[in-house]
């Protein structure tokens, strides 16, 4: 992605987020039933949506396309890694905002409800991927390992969802995307809600793209450091004029079969 495009997305994300906050906190009326608590809902569903479908979806897609031989390139691996990290942040934010909303509404910070439980499990799965990613390895090895781990975890998400859904449920079902498509929301509230989705999606895109760039730069830095230390090792082997100021040095004898 070109830096100018990235910057434009960042600015757009910032503006729409600020606008959502302004509309959500000052312009829109309080809800008939929920009062001011409704204001949290301009962000919470949007964050959850982006965590699962945008960042989570990109992570699964990137891993799948990396493993598929025809499309194998480090681009997909880095995209997946960047998306997983952003998904983890959004997932944690979903839990935090949901918890803040649940305390006054349900009277508890946490409940063993289906969506809460599956979101928490998803967060742990994402953390597992990040832990695996931190294990040092050659880029290709790491990429393949992480892609497999991501796909296995992704396959788990629907199973987790169904199992906890049957376990017990307290969370309301979707309001906007209900089967009859008969949502009744006040005009300014609906627009703020929609704007929240756009804002968070822009933010998510910017975060993933920026994280991707950092990933590229990190890899480049790693290569650079390798080059530099290789050059240093080569230089050690060259005969040097003895420095008169230096202390006499006794070289430690490397054991046979030591580091090459």
């Amino acid at each position: 992605m070109k830096p100018a495009v990235l910057r434009a997305i960042g600015v757009a994300g910032l503006v729409t987020t600020a606008l959502t906050v302004w509309l959500g906190l000052w312009v829109t009326p309080p809800d008939q039933v929920q009062g001011n608590l409704v204001r949290l809902l301009y962000l919470h569903p949007a964050i959850a949506f982006d965590a699962l479908y945008v960042a989570g979806g990109l992570a699964a897609l990137g891993s799948l396309l990396y493993l598929w031989r025809r499309t194998r390139s480090l681009f997909w691996d880095r995209l997946a890694a960047a998306s997983v990290e952003v998904a983890a942040v959004l997932c944690a934010l979903t839990l935090v905002t949901g918890s803040l909303w649940g305390r006054p509404t349900w009277g508890v910070w946490w409940t063993w409800d289906a969506r809460l439980t599956s979101t928490a499990l998803l967060l742990v799965l994402l953390l597992g991927y990040m832990a695996l990613r931190r294990v040092p390895a050659a880029p290709e090895v790491r990429a393949r390992r992480c892609a497999v781990a991501a796909l296995i975890a992704a396959a788990d998400v629907p199973i987790v969802h169904f199992s906890v859904d049957w376990w017990q449920t307290l969370h309301q079902s979707g309001t906007i995307l209900n089967p009859e498509l008969t949502a009744h929301i006040h005009g300014s509230m609906a627009w703020t809600f929609l704007l929240g989705f756009i804002a968070i999606t822009l933010d998510t895109t910017w975060l993933i793209a920026t994280r991707y760039r950092i990933e590229v730069l990190q890899d480049a830095l790693g290569d650079e450091e390798l080059e530099v230390s290789l050059a240093e090792r080569w230089a050690e082997g060259l005969p040097e004029a003895p420095d008169p100021r230096a202390e006499p040095v006794t070289l430690a004898v490397e054991p046979p079969g030591g580091r090459p």
Partner: protein, 222 residues
């Protein structure tokens, strides 16, 4: 693939029969965890009986982690993995074989654990077929998921700490569905247990298929 799977499973089980690590380490660990759960919950028979299905599956889950760790520890000897890779055995066969060996061990472990539950918690399964089917499906799923992650973390220096973090959240649905199905088998009604069999079945199918497809790239990566 099937012939290779039988070969690999036979090899793993033979090593197990001779080394007896599962018998003398994993099995006592599982039994110990039952006793520890009882300590944590107190000796009241009602509480223990109610919690029994969950405790049983929790013990099985922890043992799965140990069993898969062991399954790849026997491959960690000098050049063993390269040998297996160079032997021309189909990766899917290796996966099926290792998963089958782990599944056999887990199934035996569950029999012993169930005996322990009868002895310590006074719990009896009323609907035997429901419990057996749930156990078989869960065992296949646990072994498949465990072996994939075992292969993933084999050869890493941090495998002991990484494996539980990767495996346990993934197999959480098995804990949930297994406990519910067993609770239904113990106290009834049977109809309450049936949907959970579907979850266990779906889990088993998904992870066996994923293992067969992904084991090749995984073996290359390690």
């Amino acid at each position: 693939m099937w012939r290779d799977a039988v070969l690999v499973a036979g090899k793993d089980l033979r090593i197990e029969a001779r080394s007896r690590v599962a018998l003398w380490q994993i099995l006592p660990f599982a039994a110990l965890s039952l006793v520890l759960f009882a300590f944590a919950l107190g000796p009241g028979p009602r509480v223990l009986r109610q919690a029994a299905p969950g405790l049983f599956w929790l013990a099985v889950l922890f043992s799965t982690v140990l069993a898969t760790q062991r399954s790849f520890a026997i491959e960690s000897g000098e050049g063993t993995r390269d040998g297996l890779r160079l032997s021309g055995i189909d990766p899917a066969g290796v996966f099926m074989g290792k998963a089958a060996a782990v599944a056999v061990q887990l199934a035996l472990l569950q029999v012993v654990l169930y005996a322990g539950m009868i002895l310590l918690f006074g719990v009896h399964v009323r609907v035997v077929w429901l419990a057996v089917v749930a156990s078989l499906l869960a065992t296949v799923g646990l072994a498949a998921a465990g072996v994939i992650y075992g292969a993933l973390s084999a050869g890493l220096r941090v495998r002991e700490t990484l494996l539980p973090l990767l495996v346990l959240p993934v197999v959480a649905p098995v804990l949930l569905a297994g406990s519910r199905a067993w609770a239904a088998a113990i106290t009834g009604p049977v109809s309450a247990g049936l949907p959970w069999l579907r979850i266990l079945g779906a889990f088993a199918v998904v992870y066996v298929v994923l293992g067969v497809v992904l084991y090749g790239p995984l073996q290359e990566a390690a």
